[in-house]
Amino acid sequence: MSHISIKNISKIYGSGSSELKALDDVSLDIEKGEICVILGPSGSGKSTLLNMIGGLDRVDKGTITVEGEEITSYNKKKMTEYRRDKLGMVFQAYNLIPELNVVENVRVVKDIAEDPLDEHELLHLLGLDEHKNHFPSELSGGQQQRCSIARALIKNPALLLCDELTGALDSSSAKEVLKMLDEVNGQYGTTIIMITHDERIAGMADRLIRIKDGKITENTVKARTKVGDLGL
């Protein structure tokens, strides 16, 4: 059984002349422990797809099944529990809570996690030991993104969704962050879905999905390239 199984999902925004088909009959399966990179230009529907998998938005048609559970039938309350128990999310804008320092931002999620990882170990893994008492405004973009990853991983989620996580980073920070993700995937077996428009990142994927105008144009299972060799 696939970790994630997406069957014929569609999503339309607006109506009448302003109707926009963000996803059009999309189907795909993602296996447990895979790093799946979804590539596509702006407006292709990749963010919509990620939001559907993350339970942030609702499909108009089709089903999404995660670990055998059809999440598209969940009500609001159950969807909250799904995000709470199974999901980690990392954003391009980091979305750290500015009033909290690094370790406190991580604890925001640790507080509600059933079986959290050791925060010190995780911060060490992500190279944030020295910065744990720093506030987001005192960190570089790369450090903020690593903090964002630490926050997502502290609950040891089965699934990690990353939305343009290197979009706001310079290349050395981007490389550093991707390396961390690779290590996390290796150490915890976390399924990672990354959306990006950066072709170079596609190399680190086990599965590469290309999407255009709301349709999947490529779904390839391939061998992973080392982060150091991505050409970032």
Partner: protein, 751 residues
Amino acid sequence: MTLSRKVLRSLGKKLSFNIVTTVLTGITVTVLIGALTTADTLQDKTEDIFGNLNVEHAQFLPVRPIDEEDLEYYQNSYDLILEPQYCEDITEGEDTIRVFADNNKINLTWIFETASGTQTEVSSSQAQDGEVYICRKYAEAHDLNIGDTITAGSAELVIAGYALRPDYLNTLKDYTESIGDYEHFSTAIVSMNTYEDVFGEETAPAYYSVVYNDESSINAFRADLYESYTPLEYFNSDANSRISLVKGEVPMLRGEFSSYSMILFTLVVIIVAFMLSRIIAAEGRNIGTLKALGYRKKELITHYILYALIPTAAGCLIGIIGSVPFAGAFSAFFFNDLDSFPYDVSINPLYMILAALIPVVLNSSVTAIVTSRLLNKEAIALMKNNNDARKINHAFNGSNMRFRTLYMMRVLLGNPVRTLVFIIGMTVACMIILLGGICQDSQKNVIDHVLPDLMGDARYETGLNSFHTGQVANGQTLIDVMFEVEGDPVAFNLVGYDEDNTLLERETVSGEETVYGEYYLTSCAANYYGIEPGDEFTFVHRITGQKTTVTISDIIYNNGLRLLITSKDKAAAIVGVSPDEYNNILSEVPVDVPEQDIYKIADFDTYKDSFEQMMATTKAVYAILLTVGIIVCVLIVNLLSGMIIDENSRNISMLKVLGYRDNEIRDVILRMNHFLLPCCFLLSIPLTCYMAKLLMADSVATSGIWIDVVVKPETLLIYFAVVLAAYVISLFLSRRKLDKVDMAQSLKQED
């Protein structure tokens, strides 16, 4: 201007601010105009009644009737009007009708309703023979109509209409009362001929009333009168509760409600200034753009003034409209203490103009200042303005506190102005809510603890209309004469007692035993006159004007009566009578004294009933305050919670994405002010007590009772529960806004 459409379209977005500004301005304007109009209506009507009906300046009871010749002499010598007042009580069961002979010079009669209709204008009329004019409320209570007859002695009198005398405007049977008991007491006015038919031609005047045309002759007249007629009592109209209670309500209304409205309006201005500074600061980028596009500073200020102008003007309009029924209802409430005579409530247009202008000008000025300061920045700097760049407080960094607590502390400390606005707003709301409770506690304390001690161990006080000698069975005699302090018309009583008196309360505040022959003031008098033990106390004889100075040895605890207490011989020397004489009797049971010798009988129940009636009238004011306080509380909490939600919407969105449940997010965001709430309530207690103390001190001149401010713990708990309930309701209202924050917001790229 096209730009102003932006303001109109953002009205809904700034709904909390618009609602709070509109409602608070509306309440302030309604309460202020309503109270001032009520004060005006009371003042105009009472001035008409007192002026057109020539109300007495004073009344006195001489030891014997004044000769016709002397009457002429006094009037000519001292430029005054003097008229004997004839009245007799007809008592049947609990009901008393005090029948007056119609006057010709002083305390004239206003017949406001007859069979031919109602007369709104106050003007004097004469009663016709065989007719009687009574109080309308008494008639209604007894189902009596115009044309019915009542029995007065052996005569049957036709009720020809309803009327009032100015000296009985507050129709009190006894001076110890505060509110007329129209169910059991009425005045009845008849012609002199009818009076003589009913009570006989040889009846003596009950007392004399005087109107001074020349105030400088008052003291000389009193001294001359004392020489020949030795009046026992001399009542200034200012000390006559039938006249002074209504007069006292006018400045009380103006003073109290002007203060409440000022407090409320200051709060409105603070909120408007605070909110507008944030709204306009958030508009920095737009302001920069408009500046770059060539808009002048004046045009931009005019534009942003609209943000304050619209809700303020709406509030003023609602307030002015609301003030019409409020003024009517409030006037009816205050006139309810009097007989139901006709009066017109009309709002002074000046109040409406000022109520419309002042809030608009003040709030617009605040907006102009805030915008002007922002406009001093360069357009480029404004356009680069990052609305989300907030000052983050780093307090408790490295501590192991829970995230929720840390977050709350940093958000609160990170925005001290908002926290201060919450503290000010909630403290004011708590004060308004608490004030009624504390005042009622203090008044209840008077009934429970002050009134029972009022007469010591005595249950009855029998005042005589002249000095007597000899023993009284079951009674202990006193000398009891009114005096006053120069320049203050409010009187006190000098009381002389025998050394073996066991009924007069003599427990001192210091705990020391009283020494017979020394002078003691009751706490009510000491507080009113500001006298401490060891101070000298100078007072004047109300009739002769003779000054006496004594040293006060201690204060006797009695907050209900203004008394100067000393031995009978010392009191007799000051009054100018023999130490064997007395004019007052204290007793545990009613004493056997001829009815014609009795001037008044007061008992504990009379004092208690009167005070309870007075309390009942204040309840409506406290109910209004409680309602306003709850509204202020709900609005402030809702406004500031809304602001916290707006500021933290990105974090809220993120917490939703991270899997936080709605109740957990509410717990993080909406509990910010939880711990401030009890702080505000605690802060409001001393402030409210101070305010209540000022109110109670103001009331002592009219009620005659010094009311100590008392707060019962259970009252604090009940009112805290009220504040808490209002707070919870406001948070409940804010929940919707919080729940509506979209998760997608965290997905958007930061500006």
